[in-house]
Each structure stands twice: as C-alpha cells, then as structure tokens.
C-alpha cells in the first residue's frame, strides 16, 4: 500500500535559520501551549548550550506533544477525534541571552508506538539556530515515569545509560510534579541524543 515512486518531486533543502530568526518566528503566546495558571500546567525550562558549554542565545526551541489523554489534535491520529479539544500541543520559545527557554504545557499521555509497544509520555523537540544548517530533533521524557520509560521502545534503542539520560528531564527543585529542567547540549561532553526522524 505505497504510493507509486514515479510521482516523486525532489525535496527543498534545509538552510540555517541564521542569527535573526527573532524577527520572524517568536509569538507572544508561543511558549504557552496552555495559558499560565491552567490547572495541572507544567513548566519545562532549560538552556541550549554549545560545544564549549556556552549558552546559545539565538536558538528557537519548538515542542510537539500529545494531550494528557494521549491523543493528538490532528486528523491523522487514527483513533478518532482528539479527546482534548482545543489543546494546541505546540510550543515555541526563542532562547534568551543566557540560552534559556521555557514552555508552559500539560503533561502528555502515553501513546501507542510503532511495532506495538507503548511510548512513554514525551515531547518531540526541534531546535533551530545560527550554525545549524538543519534542525536537530530530540525528545523530552519525564523523570517520574520510570516504569513507562523502561518500556519505551525509543529509549530502548539507546543502550548507553549516560546517553539515554540526556533525554530525561530532571525535576526543578521545589516544583514537585509541575516543574522540569531539560538542557540541550548541542555538542561535546554529555551531548544530547538527537534523532533522525
């Protein structure tokens, strides 16, 4: 059930977003997948760091995720209409001069994975910046989902413990289940795992 290869058009290549993406891409409501103060809202914040450990002040972090019930606000979710009507699922935050970003959202639910397993709650992340000729893609998992993370088929593809750990957020001290920290290291020691999607 695949499409005939004869109809293939060649793809448009990627180019860097450059140092001035802040002219065109940030939105006032971008970081707020849900409004601040929404019941059960969580905060995910962190820094984007380069290979020298220096903050990247001109990056854009984008997130995409399921709703708390594991549904997607999208017609290609074959399980039917989204349970969380109106949940945007998408966050976008430019980094500040300290390389910091912050997203306010709801915890995603688990989703069925390709091949029959269940993917633990996660967010897909794209990072764009000067110096990145194409986006880099990673995932954010949650530290208080140890059982689900242990059964996650994507985490299972990364065998080195220290590499896998780069995909799991850490609790923000004092924030309980509502605040998480997730740093993105583009290069070097503790480099974040990036995915070919």
């Amino acid at each position: 059930m695949s499409l005939p290869p004869s109809s293939q058009l060649a793809l448009t290549p990627s180019q860097t977003a450059g140092p001035f993406l802040a002219i065109g891409l940030p939105w006032p409501d971008g970081p707020f997948v849900v409004p601040e103060g929404t019941p059960d809202a969580i905060s995910i914040s962190g820094r984007v760091l380069d290979g020298a450990g220096e903050p990247v002040p001109d990056a854009l972090v984008e997130t995409w995720q399921a709703a708390p019930d594991g549904s997607f606000a999208h017609p290609d979710d074959p399980r039917g209409p989204a349970g969380q009507a109106g949940f945007r699922g998408f966050g976008r935050c430019p980094t500040d001069p300290g390389g910091r970003y912050r997203i306010c959202t709801l915890r995603p639910g688990a989703v069925p994975g390709p091949g029959g397993g269940t993917e633990a709650p996660h967010l897909d992340v794209s990072v764009f910046a000067r110096g990145l000729l194409d986006r880099v893609v990673t995932r954010i998992y949650f530290p208080d989902e140890q059982a689900a993370n242990g059964a996650d088929p994507v985490l299972a593809t990364i065998t080195a413990d220290d590499r896998r750990a780069t995909l799991v957020a850490v609790p923000e001290p004092g924030a309980g289940r509502f605040g998480f920290r997730f740093d993105i290291r583009l290069q070097g020691g503790h480099e974040t795992v990036f995915f070919d999607v």
Partner: protein, 248 residues
Amino acid sequence: MTTEVPPVPGRLVLPSYQRPAGVHPPLNSPGYASSALRAPGLPPVRLAQGLTEITGPLLGAERVTVADADLTTRHRGEPLGERIILTGRVLDSGGRPVPDTLIEIWQANASGRYAHGVDDHDAPLDPNFDGAGRCMTDSGGRYRFVTIKPGAYPWRNHHNAWRPAHVHFSVFGRAFTQRLITQMYFPGDPLFGQDPIFNSVPDPAARERMIARFDLATTQPEWALGYQWDIVLRGPAATVFEATQERR
C-alpha cells in the same frame, strides 16, 4: 480533565514520511564557521516514526491577517527598494498540495540590513520595513507575499564574505516530520560561488531548488517584479502500523 478515548485497534494504517537522504546539508560543514561549536558531533539515532512524528501542529488562520502577507504596507510610508511578488506552492514529494499551512518569512531590507539589534552592518535601517511576513497556503497549497528585494550583506565567516540576497522561509506542513526552515535565493546571484551556506547543500541540483524563478506572468506592469518558488516537503506513503496498546 481526561476524557474517554477509543482503544487502539490491532492494526492501523498510518502514513510514514520518506527520509530526506542526500538533500539537506550535513550539520558539520567546515566552511560555515558557526557550525563548528554547534553541530552535534555524534550521528543522529534513527527514530521509528510514530504518532508524534506523523502528526504536527495545525496552526490556524487565526494567527494570520491578510495584511501580514504584504511587507510593504505595514508602516507609515513605503519601504525603499525593488518591490517584488513572491509566490508559489507548498507541495509534498508526491506532488500533492499542502493546504492551510502556515508560512513565516523574514529578511533583510533593500540595503542588506536586518531590523535586529545584533545586526551591526553599516547600512541604513528603513523605518518602513521590519522584514517579517506570514500567510497561510490556500486550498491549492498556494502562497503569495508582496515585499521588497533584500540586499546582499557582509558577514564575518571568512575574508570578504557576503551573503547572497535571500528570504528566510519557515513552513510547517501537516506533520512533525515535514517541518522545514530554509532560504529562498534569487536567480543569477554572483555571490553563490563564495557562500558556504548556499553551498552546504552538497547536490548542485538540490541547490538549484532553493532559487526562485523570475516570472513575467507574475510580474505586475508598472508595479512589481514577480518570482515563483515552490517548496517541496517530505511526502507520506501509507504503511501498516501495529498498535495493540490502549492509552493510559
């Protein structure tokens, strides 16, 4: 606030998006100095596309006004420079139009200066030009912007380095896998040969696909030059996806 969602049937048919082998620039591109400390050193891990990847944000028209597609009429006066019309279609690799998808653009002014505090190029700002535009594709995947032709500008990548004139384009498509940020260039630019960003795309034919085509039919007499540029995103092919778990 969790509502009941139907359980997953045993077998589902989901699209799977082709991987863009050989099209995009390698992240580590020695000619582009900014990549030295930012390009990951380790190869990416192949991710099997699942529901998170084959869906994506469907950002509605509520985010865009008609005026956002005309970068020449948003200020008190008209910007300086050569007025142009940029238009084309967003398609997937199967040739299908991508309707109702958000396109965002940003660019330098006619003098080659960005309206951004970090740009210290010794060229004038234009109080009538901020360089940002947005529109939604129509039902046929078409978009259309009115703007001015951006100028070339120097940068410090290497001695006497100049960027060819370009417009930054950001496109969502309908799936996370289709997300694309790129640059559109103008035909015949003499600066292509020395530009490490343009040339970071290894395949010469692929580089050509970043260059708009001057089009007399799009050009409006006594008013603006017209350029056509189509954007092609990764396309879906249907594959069977096994999913037996219920949502938690």
